[in-house]
Symmetry: C2
Subunit: 239 residues, 2 copies
DNA sequence: GATCCCCAATAAGTATGACTTTTGAGGCTG
DNA sequence: CAGCCTCAAAAGTCATACTTATTGGGGATC
């Protein structure tokens, strides 16, 4: 998407609108875009169509391209999530982390009901690898296994909307370790919970899978919140 | 969106792809669309851009417009949700209802933490109206209040991604009563839970708000599942 | 002076055709 | 048979002309 002319302009405008450079209610004009970016009418129009599909703007005859109120933006669109992460990483991570606390426990329960043998086996394998890499202090590989673990739970839930969130939640996980928020050796409690979840999925115990996952993500959410407020205190304000 | 030429074609193609008329991997060509719909190149290209933004297709040079694997579709896009509802209402409602069981309890807890006085008051008012209309047997107004109630909880959660789901979950609720799944006088348990949630939000009791909402939506989900399997048994198969 | 209606200016929507760029496939060469 | 090379197919971009809907204003009417 970043290659073509279209993608570049969409990305730039998307960033700008997300950042509030063009606040809701403000009006862009197709000719304005042509001039500003040195693009042809067709490209400008296609850019607007793309942004309209994300519900960032709406195009009205005799008026122009109007930026919609933020509440109407489709915040589940991966592109928009990226733009919002660039604008205010803390706020977006908080939002996503909270969504995680909602979705993952229910997804774990569903996975315990629906997962096939192969998926369950892979899940157990990932949990084991997490234990091994944690012991070895290999945070890199640990993170990979962690991301794969949670992605697999979402995929195995059998709910395509849960599965959709795999990539986004992976972002959150990567952000946590990227920030150095993870202790050098991941907490034993978290490891135990991962193993328990994997076992419950394999054994078909939705209730325990759900509560274990809930304990896990709520702990992670609390940690995320704490580090966010700490960060805000340190830098003096938002961002 | 249905007015213009663009919207019509997007809608039709969206329906077709969702329905599997063009299975993942199959290839459309811009010229093909021009011919088939009698539209110009510009409109055809904009249609493809829109579908690409929903991640239904990807456009490759020298190849054409390729339908992506279903797992990559952005199933949180309202347009795609509509198309999928038209294809297999049961499956989509099931998916959405399960998403509801995940999100709404956490949203209720967040609302109990974040809701302002005015929002809390309105929530209590809606709960009261539900009790009144239920007693009167006014299912129409009851449904409206119900939809507004759950929408307000999502909005008051302070999480814009939760708030985003208001419209979609409203669809699920409307579907339930539209199907005659609601008893003539809504269950007293559900009414009590709505009131309890409203009180907990006003009083700032996240834990009880969450568990009450969880009880409510899990009950609703079970009812939805039961009626879906009953329907499937009745009609002999899916759809 | 207020109201209503019609019209013209405006900006998006559609159509057309030419030209560019990328890339896959098949043929050519070593 | 492998690797390279050329060619053509299809999307990407551009320029321009024309159509349609909408809004705001100006003039007619009450």
């Amino acid at each position: 998407m970043s290659g073509g002319l279209h993608g570049q302009v969409v990305d730039l405008l998307g960033h700008e609108i997300s950042a509030g450079v063009h606040p809701p209610g403000s009006v862009l004009r197709i000719d304005g875009l042509e001039e500003r970016f040195g693009i042809s009418r067709s490209v400008a129009r296609e850019v607007v169509r793309t942004l309209a599909s994300i519900r960032l703007v709406v195009s009205r005859k005799r008026v122009g391209v109007v930026v919609r109120p933020r509440a109407e933006w489709n915040t589940f669109d991966p592109a928009l999530i990226r733009w919002l992460l660039a604008v205010d990483r803390s706020a977006q991570v908080r939002t996503l982390a909270e969504l995680r606390t909602a979705v993952e426990p229910v997804a774990a329960a569903a996975a315990a009901r629906n997962a096939g043998h192969e998926q369950a086996a892979r899940l157990v394998g990932l949990a084991e690898r997490m234990v091994a890499t944690a012991r070895a202090g290999d945070l890199e590989t640990f993170l990979e296994a962690d991301v794969a673990f949670h992605g697999l739970v979402l995929a195995a839930s059998g709910n395509e909307m849960f599965a959709q969130l795999e990539g986004v939640f992976g972002e959150v996980l990567r952000w946590r370790t990227g920030r150095g928020l993870m202790p050098e050796h991941p907490e034993p409690v978290a490891l135990r919970l991962h193993c328990e979840i994997a076992e419950c999925v394999r054994g078909g115990d939705p209730a325990r899978a759900e509560s274990a996952m809930r304990e896990l993500v709520e702990e992670a959410f609390a940690g995320t919140l704490a580090s966010l407020t700490a960060e805000r205190r340190a830098t003096g304000s938002a961002q």
